[in-house]
């Protein structure tokens, strides 16, 4: 457990699932915030009333709603539950920011603390490229009309007296998509957002929330629909007992079948290798992977010049969706992974009907009372090959493509490069790749450091 926000989120999700399973959700949903923060209990925020309000918004997002919805303050959760039940709509976006949860953190800026001794050497004054620092009354002062927040003064101060306050969500976003709105609260600009989930993982107030499809998944199972789970390769590192037990646990909730997305990764590898050879033979200089949705969105929204280099081979999730449709034409498909961007990709994939995170899966199993460790091994019809299962690790994709390629085309030379984690710096690096200024003819890009295993919704990082 890395922090309290994460813990409370999971606890709430488990309770939500339990109430659903027991058939008491309709009756109790409005009381859940009160059960978690009863009168006179300790609060995590300023008071229990604030805590309860945020819990309410979080429950709204678990039902799939946007917590910035008009009139949500007066409308009880039971009203939202009724709507979720009758409409069965997919959320329009995977993320939302709760204004009640957002602390409206102070603007990022350089601050001089009382550690400043107004020293004689004044390296801060000398290192500042904008002459923004002066010393008055034995204390350094920043002229904010000049300061560009470069942080040079921080590094040179012998007393560590200068600090840079950050807005954690803005700081985490590689593309400047999350900003304060007029009220000082964070809001996401979805024309820019690449769904990498870094703001979600970094907000210390847990104010960035996922709009979940957990309720949709559960209600379809309860209503007797055939629902098939497609589990991303990184699951093998995420749950106790290995994927054999995990798959049995998933089936125990009522899923009709469980399919490894790594089987889809096998097809991605095969076809991506073919595409790469074709492109090289045509004289193209560079191809990049396309399995990471956040990267694909980064190119689409911020680096158009790279668009023609992005592989057009479908992602493992999409192939797995096709496999599942073939095998179970009458079933609804649910992709389960560590990723927020895949939720977005799932919205656009005709063969993926719903998407869920590992955190939601874990909460679903916990709330349903399914103990993974005591499950029998799942009879895998055919386990995916090791290279496909490794898709989840950075360099896994390249590894798989490389192995495939070295077979026949010994005259072609593969020069593979990786971008392991997207941030503001790597976003610039990509522009250089587009201009042909960097070496390499095969570029693997993963938004999360370490690959999917480091995803924003993974359980173990």
């Amino acid at each position: 457990m890395s922090n309290g926000a994460e813990r409370l989120r999971r606890e709430l999700m488990i309770r939500f699932v339990r109430e659903f399973k027991n058939g008491t959700l309709e009756k109790n949903i409005d009381r859940i915030p009160f059960a978690i923060r009863p009168a006179q209990s300790a609060s995590s925020r300023c008071c229990i009333y604030h805590d309860r309000a945020v819990l309410k918004y979080r429950l709204m997002t678990m039902l799939g709603f946007d917590c910035g919805d008009d009139g949500c303050e007066e409308r009880p959760l039971s009203g939202y539950l009724e709507e979720a039940q009758s409409s069965d709509l997919r959320p329009s976006q995977p993320l939302t920011v709760s204004a009640a949860g957002c602390d409206g953190c102070p603007e990022s800026r350089i601050n001089v603390t009382t550690n400043c001794r107004g020293c004689f050497a004044r390296p801060c004054v000398f290192s500042c490229p904008k002459q923004a620092i002066s010393v008055e009354d034995h204390h350094a002062k920043v002229d904010y009309s000049k300061c560009i927040k470069c942080g040079k003064c921080l590094q040179v101060c012998p007393f560590n007296a200068i600090i840079k306050t950050k807005v954690p969500c803005e700081d985490a976003c590689p593309v400047g998509a999350i900003r304060k709105d007029g009220t000082g609260h964070a809001s996401i600009d979805f024309d820019k957002c690449i769904y990498c989930g870094k703001c979600f993982a970094k907000c210390p107030f847990g104010a960035v929330m996922e709009r979940s499809e957990l309720y949709r998944v559960m209600r379809h199972i309860r209503d007797g629909r055939k629902v098939v789970a497609l589990v991303a390769p990184s699951a093998q590192f995420q749950f106790p007992g290995g994927i054999g037990k995990l798959f049995s646990a998933i089936a125990a909730v009522g899923f009709a079948d469980v399919i490894e997305v790594a089987l889809g990764a096998e097809l991605t590898t095969e076809n991506e290798a073919k595409e790469f050879v074709e492109r090289l033979r045509k004289g193209e200089k560079l191809m990049t992977t396309s399995c990471c949705t956040a990267y694909v969105e980064l190119v689409r929204k911020h680096a158009q010049e790279l668009q023609s280099c992005v592989s057009s081979t479908p992602s493992p999730m999409r192939y797995a969706g096709m496999l599942a449709r073939d095998k179970h034409p009458d079933a609804l498909t649910v992709f389960i992974g560590p990723c927020i961007a895949k939720r977005f990709e799932a919205f656009q994939s005709e063969n993926i009907d719903m998407a869920m995170s590992f955190e939601e899966l874990g909460s679903l199993l916990a709330g349903w009372g399914v103990d993974i460790m005591s499950q029998p091994e799942w009879p895998m019809p055919r386990p995916a090959i090791a290279t496909a299962r490794n898709f989840a690790k950075s360099c896994g994709v390249t590894d798989a493509v490389l192995t495939e390629l070295l077979g026949e085309n010994s005259d072609l030379k593969l020069d593979s490069k990786f971008i392991n984690g997207i941030d503001a710096k790597t976003a610039l690096q990509l522009k250089l790749y587009a201009k042909g200024k960097l070496p390499g003819n095969f570029l693997e890009v993963m938004s999360c450091p370490g690959g999917c295993v480091g995803g924003p919704c993974s359980l173990v990082r």
Partner: protein, 90 residues
């Protein structure tokens, strides 16, 4: 040779989700002097998560004694009461 301390970490799904995944790394955090004095086991759900409140998960058992709200720190503290050697800074 003294008896080893038996540390059982509940890796039932609820405990796992609420912190046991992290507790499983405890072996790497034990001071060297304790390493061969503690046996760590991952065990299935002890059913405490349904009988007691899930607010108290994750649960561990140290030589048979149940402890709720377990974190690396609280488990270290509990072990230090049973083991004579002072742990180094963790």
């Amino acid at each position: 040779m003294q008896d080893k301390i038996k540390l059982e970490i509940c890796c039932g799904t609820t405990c796992y989700m609420l912190g046991a995944a992290e507790l499983m790394t405890i072996e790497d955090t034990l001071p060297d002097a304790w390493k061969d004095r503690v046996d760590v086991f991952a065990i299935p759900c002890m059913d405490l998560c349904t009988r007691e409140d899930i607010g108290r998960a994750p649960f561990v058992r140290i030589d048979g004694e149940v402890m709720g709200n377990a974190t690396l720190e609280t488990v270290h503290r509990a072990l230090s009461k049973l083991l004579p050697i002072e742990p180094e800074e963790v």
